[in-house]
Symmetry: C2
């Protein structure tokens, strides 16, 4: 996909609707990726994102050690790959090879962009104070990319187990006047 740079001030638009994202890490030349739904915006400027990554996940080690990751936003096109990535551990296999995902170099971090995802957020860990208690990381988005060809991304939204809500249409809702 031909990506263009996306303004950091608009990153919240990509995330606050709650899409499943894929967190990519790289550590000692080994890359990994895992799906995640427990994330929230925390600040507009600089854009801060908070998310929970269990210390039972293989990615927890690389994220903690390198303090870098890329939050990639997939669409229905690779939904099976997303779910599959959550079903196996990066400790045992190379998920990029197994699920035919294409890593591309990021601009500011060593973790890879996933080419098949329509948006990619390069992140650095900004606050680890809630990691011990909740496995909750606060990261700063330092560079964002988007595929301008994707107008209404059919993001997937987890509803428990194998159930996913696919993004419906986007409408304008205005406040009532009176």
């Amino acid at each position: 996909m031909a990506k263009r740079s996306f303004p950091l001030s608009k990153v919240y638009i990509l995330l606050e609707s709650g899409p499943v994202v894929m967190v990519a890490t790289a550590w000692a030349s080994k890359m990994n990726v895992m799906p995640m739904s427990w994330h929230t915006m925390m600040e507009f400027k600089p854009p801060l994102i908070g998310f929970v990554m269990s210390d039972q996940n293989y990615s927890f080690g690389p994220l903690t050690a390198t303090k870098e990751c890329v939050i990639n936003i997939p669409t229905i096109k690779i939904a099976e790959e997303v779910v599959s990535c959550g079903n196996v551990s990066g400790a045992r296999i190379n998920k990029f090879e197994k699920f035919h995902l294409t890593p591309k170099p990021a601009a500011k971090v060593k973790a890879p962009l996933i080419d098949e995802c329509y948006a990619n957020l390069e992140c650095r860990v900004a606050d680890k104070s809630m990691v011990e208690k909740y496995c909750f990381f606060v990261v700063e988005v330092v560079k964002a990319w988007i595929d301008p060809a994707v107008k209404d991304p059919l993001t997937i939204h987890h509803m428990g187990k194998e159930d996913f809500m696919i993004a419906g249409k986007t409408i304008k809702i205005k406040p009532k006047m009176n």
Copy 2:
């Protein structure tokens, strides 16, 4: 709406797809409500939710003082009311009256359930350690309610400014076998 009790172990299903929610508070017999999108699940058992509420919001005072709130989940049916509630301050008006929202008594907290919302989560503040730095509250869901008549809730998902994505269809996505 005729609500039934909803298992706390399944609360995550209601929230992780990223719906706009309405946070209700009650303080000294004054009720208020505001929409919010910056929330995430943080733990399954007990269900913990983290969310950002700016200290510029009127609700920040009541939430901090009472350590209680109800997270109500609306659908497209009251989308205009939801947006309107985010456009005015509870310091000046009674939003329940102005926007014809019906407060109902909760079982475990003083903040009200919003009857027009298909699900309601009664919450108590569990951790304030990130409030000063990020206005980030961690709350525990102590009681949950749902309208069993609502099968595929058309939740609304904020995409910035006046843009909202309406929940599309829910499908099963299974991992690839091989």
